[in-house]
């Protein structure tokens, strides 16, 4: 039996983009026609709620519930409401949204039209990282084609519903992927995250009701509306619904990104799809879903990759794109690279993040380069406790940065100890990384 893989059905082996004609020939824009032509916004919201779709950007928040906080009264309808697609893919080790953007831009646009219709947004933005030049160009062309066809603009398909859509190409910085930082950036400001409440659903872009969703999340919407919540639920192998883009990078035989039923086991993804470890390498651990998730180890290979199971194991599914730690790569150097990344990408607003992360990076640099002391482990433990606590900072960047560190200290403590005892990195020639 072949798998039902809705998100990648238009993805070709050579990754050439699917244009409007090819997209419609393969059943495209039927979900949009069903939503706008036959259903009401509350109908659509109910379908998405019933589907149990959870946000694919990393946090896994139920999409229907997120949308349900958007005010739908007449007062709200009197002004603008916004839908924003978060295409600011920058989480270390994450390369799934690029695939969807470059191979099937119309899928995202159709999903966005359905999402915008559900919350009755009149303006939609695709906030895309500056480096995704090809994706931005393809999206602009696809949006223009939709305006020509009457799928965007005034009175879509004679329904009386209006929606404008545009692409906003960013200017760098990882923090723009945090939804309130993204809103600040879209308003032309420094991308500082905002304290919540108020939540963006009530007061977001320009102080108006705003929904921010990840690319992969939005790509699911019209499929669910067209084929139903039960169909979507049945795609998942565990309590979570739908399919998921899973990726594997690091020293495996066949690194890549695949759409699979959500709940596929870690072992199947790494050993079957990624071909297992490259010759001469053994796996020691992995980050399940990007740079800000906790390490898991060989003991966790038979876990289902879903939100609940990975969460219970002490990590997060995050973006679903795994990074493999092999036996020839230094765990301390690995965590140091991540910590230097997060220190560099801190927006600088909250003190624990701005001053704490460079401190953690410095301690890790000392240990990696043979200058570590036994007290450094206590310092790192205190940093994990303080910086990792949710609520000490506006956003989750700093707590996320602590996740790989705290789990590395748990699973690879002997490696830290060997650096300190031997005053050198046991993985590097002459101690140089």
């Amino acid at each position: 039996m072949s798998l039902d893989l809705p998100l990648t059905r238009n993805v070709r082996p050579d990754r050439s983009p699917t244009d409007l004609i090819a997209y419609e020939a393969n059943g495209g824009y039927q979900g949009m026609k069903a939503a706008i032509g036959k259903l009401s916004p509350p109908d659509c919201l109910q379908i998405i709620k019933d589907s149990n779709l959870r946000g694919r950007g990393g946090a896994g928040f139920p999409t229907g519930m997120k949308w349900s906080f958007v005010p739908m009264d007449e007062a709200a309808a009197a002004g603008h409401k916004y839908l924003i697609c978060n295409a600011d893919e920058m989480e270390p080790g994450t390369f799934k949204d690029r695939l969807l953007l470059e191979c099937d831009p119309h899928q995202l646009i159709e999903g966005m039209i359905c999402a915008a219709f559900t919350i009755q947004a009149d303006v939609a933005y695709i906030f895309i990282r500056a480096e995704y030049h090809l994706a931005a160009k393809l999206l602009r062309e696809a949006i223009a084609a939709c305006y020509d066809k009457g799928y965007l603009g005034k009175d879509i398909l004679g329904s009386g519903y209006h929606l404008d859509m545009q692409v906003h190409s960013s200017a760098g910085r990882y923090i723009c992927g945090e939804e309130t930082a993204l809103i600040s950036s879209l308003e032309g400001k420094r991308a500082n995250p905002r304290a919540k409440p108020p939540f963006p659903q009530v007061s977001g872009l320009w102080g108006r009701p705003t929904i921010v969703n990840n690319v992969e999340t939005l790509c699911n919407i019209h499929h669910i509306i067209e084929r139903g919540a039960d169909w979507f639920q049945a795609l998942g192998l565990t309590e979570d619904a739908g399919t998921k883009l899973y990726g594997v990078s690091g020293r495996v035989k066949n690194p890549g990104c695949w759409e699979l039923p959500i709940g596929t086991t870690v072992r199947e993804i790494i050993e079957h799809h990624a071909g297992g470890m490259a010759d001469g390498y053994q796996m020691r651990g992995f980050l399940p879903g990007g740079g800000s998730t906790d390490f898991l180890t060989n003991d966790h290979l038979d876990l289902a990759m879903d939100y609940g199971t990975i969460g219970k194991a002490g990590s997060r599914m995050g973006t679903g794109t795994m990074i493999i730690l092999d036996d020839k790569t230094c765990p301390v150097g690995f965590v140091k690279n991540l910590m230097e990344f997060f220190a560099r990408e801190s927006c600088g607003f909250c003190t624990p993040c701005r001053d704490g992360l460079p401190w953690s990076a410095q301690v890790l640099d000392d240990i990696e380069n043979g200058r570590g002391t036994p007290e450094d482990m206590d310092t790192l433990a205190r940093q994990v406790e303080f910086i990792g606590a949710i609520g000490n900072t506006h956003c989750a960047l700093a707590p996320g940065a602590m996740e790989p560190l705290q789990s590395a200290m748990r699973y690879f403590r002997e490696d830290f100890q060997r650096h300190i005892d031997g005053s050198a990195c046991p993985f590097c020639d002459g101690g140089a990384p």
């Binding site: 270390p92 960013s170 032309g188 400001k189 690091g250 740079g291 493999i324 560099r344």
Partner: protein, 176 residues
Amino acid sequence: MWTGERMSELIPVIDEGEIALSAAEIAEIDAEIAHVPYRAAVAIDALKIVQAHRGWVSDESLRAIARHLHMSAAELDGIATFYNLIFRQPVGDKVILLCNSISCWIKGCDSLQLAISKQLGVGLGGTTADNRFTLLPVTCLGACDKAPVLMVGEDLHEDVDTQTLRALFQGEGGGV
């Protein structure tokens, strides 16, 4: 990756030399202003537009943009210096964005950087003497299955090795 010395170079020098934005720059910026509630909201777009025309954003350009957007130069500089792809000092004809995030690190981006630096004669943040290239680090480029990766201008290069570098930077520096 700014060092202390480089940081001091970024502090704007106040002088009396003012410039005007070109008609093309103003037209592009005004097209963006049409979509937003107030002029300063297009600050990042305006910086990108002027940078596209002039290669970088000088103090004079910054003040000209600020005047056009009815905001203070200080506020605009706070925005410009926040974003790593707004250049407040001159860059080469093409910017090399070298990914040094985790998957590329595992696959050897550090030695790749050493090889590039050796071939071009520049470190991170440096511009080659012939002004063709500027080398900068960048956050994960979202092509981790093809690590290590880098961008030269708008082009992504995957599975980069010394052979790739030789082809990309032929005729530069002493060679690898």
